[in-house]
Point group: C2
Chain length 376, copies 2
């Protein structure tokens, strides 16, 4: 297996820097410190958002790594997890010994309407034509969850309250401001019943990891963070053809694979893909972090808070930290790196020895689950 | 190492089918025949050309492989080689046992001017602003080659004559029509001195491979084609900053790595990245297939013809077969598969036991060289 020996990220938010400058901000210190022999760039929309192609080659040129091979790995919102999976496989196959993963996206070159429309290009033809968007699907999911499990509408809003609190403790988060339950409920509705504060903002940003095979990990750092297990799975892209909008099959399957490989049942914290508040709850249930149909109750009991029994999205999650598409899954691994090294500052989970991240494409079209630990 | 156990492709050209239909045409028979457990999609411009993202998930859905994990690998024109490299590493790392690589691009949704402008988005900011395009760089390269090596202008045109002859023998080629030396020379000039017939046309198409680890290869077929070596390297994306426009460092380095791994010095045929005729000559020199500065002479001597001593681009190459960006590098491997299995019909090279392919991004910004053989 492989281990993360160093990590870095930029502040997420509306940034004036371009794509290359953001990538460099997250990775230049790492490039100077390690002999990188392969660069995996996690990015989806450089063409659509920034009119740039060949982003991986432009980045290595910008970083002065002319001869270092590179590729771009894309899996839309789940690109980061897929890029880490590819990095691991390049290391396992001895194609590389020291891989730099750079996740980067610059979204604010487009306005909200353009961004929503571009992201909807991952839906099936039929669903796009019907005007479906990812936020509208989240609204449908929330309504079905309320109906089936008698969950109060407030329970979703409490996810946003918790994640904004966590974001307020994260100097790299896009939104570093707490919100009250009342503020969340009174905000403009985006997709009934969910409001503005329950969706991820549009963010720019980058995150980077240096990954090596376990055998070399301790030669670089006293505290490597080991990737103990990694699972990837997928589900139909035609959401309306799924048996049940509350079943996230790719998430569940990827979690089972990762946990089996890691020989880990319980983790000390998790970073999930809370593009909308309801998703955090349903994903946590699919991954066995919360009980099926009862996940919403956890949010009334502080259970998922940083000092709770099962801390979720200590970084602020996509909800407050932001979601620069290609950077998100990589930034989740950065949070895991910090937590397990006991370097998460005021967000530190006590005795964080194992963690989990879920990097997800679309509405569960693809999912990569990674289990991290302080030992191999 | 790994082996190709089956392969397929679509006719290249202006196709009425959309991206998903092309991908299915190249891969449906393979999906029905093998238990695929990972899909690697080689594609660059689905967003820019076709307003589609999440192409890998849309393809698995379209093929009825809902739970099969997938990713998109991009390295612009060199995506195919990079996707094969990733497939190999996924197999080596035991993340997958049977990988389907699908290369696909649908370019004809845009006109020539739009396509050229979109592809120029891989150049550095400065060079784009200066109006540079890949064809104009090829013209500069041709002029410098003529000057330095006293090569006649006709020698480049002879590359097009040879590749169009080969294309006329390939039922999957975009252009299946021979051209004479005179026709090439009299065609409209695209980038002085190079004319229309010396550049790849704008094509749609798809190509697919099924790849497994060597240990399983013979359980699927009596004639697996083994990947004996694979090398990837890169060069600065700022072409004007290179010491010498005739040095393709990424190509040379990738070739050295691949040949060393394969323990092969001489190959029986090669598929190169002849986006422009001059590139075939310079690449062949960098890879040691032709002598440095004398490569042009080979084209007066039938040396690179199908029945010559060093057959190059038996498929017709990018020049006649076409160059659907994401599909090209995968289609090169399909040609190698056919040649080594003695299934290339009227294009068959006698005693083709080892072959080489060069999949290249931009103007040598990145290069992947693969060595194929009939034994591990
Ligand atoms: Ca890509």
């Amino acid at each position: 297996m492989v281990a993360i020996i160093d990590a870095n990220l930029t502040r997420f938010g509306k940034r004036k820097e371009n794509l290359l400058e953001l990538a460099a901000e997250a990775s230049l210190s790492l490039v100077r410190k390690y002999e990188i022999d392969f660069v995996v760039v996690s990015n989806t929309y450089s063409g659509e958002f920034n009119s740039i192609s060949g982003i991986n080659n432009l980045i290595t040129t910008y970083l002065g790594m002319d001869s270092t091979p590179s590729i771009r790995v894309d899996n839309t919102s789940g690109s980061g997890g897929s890029a880490i999976l590819v990095a691991k496989s390049l290391l396992d196959s001895r194609i590389a010994n020291t891989v730099l993963v750079i996740g980067v996206e610059k979204m604010s070159d487009k306005n909200t309407k353009q961004v929503t429309s571009i992201i909807a290009s991952l839906l099936s033809y039929e669903e796009r034509r019907a005007g479906l968007t990812l936020p509208s699907l989240a609204g449908l999911m929330a309504k079905e969850y309320m109906r089936r499990y008698n969950a109060p509408r407030e329970s979703f809003a409490l996810v946003a309250v918790k994640n904004h609190l966590n974001g307020s403790l994260n100097p790299f988060a896009h939104i570093q401001k707490k919100v009250t339950l009342e503020e969340v409920l009174k905000a403009p509705v985006i997709a009934e019943p969910l409001t503005l504060y329950e969706f991820t903002p549009i963010s720019d940003g980058a995150a980077s990891l240096v990954i090596v095979r376990n055998e070399y990990a301790y030669s670089f750092t006293k505290k490597p963070v080991f990737i103990k297990g990694i699972g990837i799975s997928s589900d139909t892209s035609i959401i309306s053809e799924r048996d049940d909008i509350l079943n996230m099959n790719a998430v569940r399957r990827a979690g089972i694979i990762a946990k089996r490989e890691a020989k880990v049942e319980k983790v000390d914290f998790a970073e999930l893909h809370d593009m909308a508040t309801i998703l955090e709850i349903v994903e946590a249930e699919e991954l066995g972090l919360l009980s099926k149909g009862e996940g919403w109750k956890a949010y009334y009991e502080n259970y998922t808070a940083i000092n709770g029994e099962m801390p979720i999205n200590t970084s602020g999650g996509l909800n407050a930290k932001g979601h620069p598409i290609g950077a998100s899954g990589v930034a989740q691994a950065v949070e895991a790196f910090l937590q397990i090294r006991n370097e998460a500052g005021s967000r530190q989970v006590k005795n964080a020895r194992t963690g989990l991240s879920l990097s997800m494409a679309g509405f569960g079209n693809s999912a990569t689950v990674i289990i991290y630990g302080d030992e191999p």
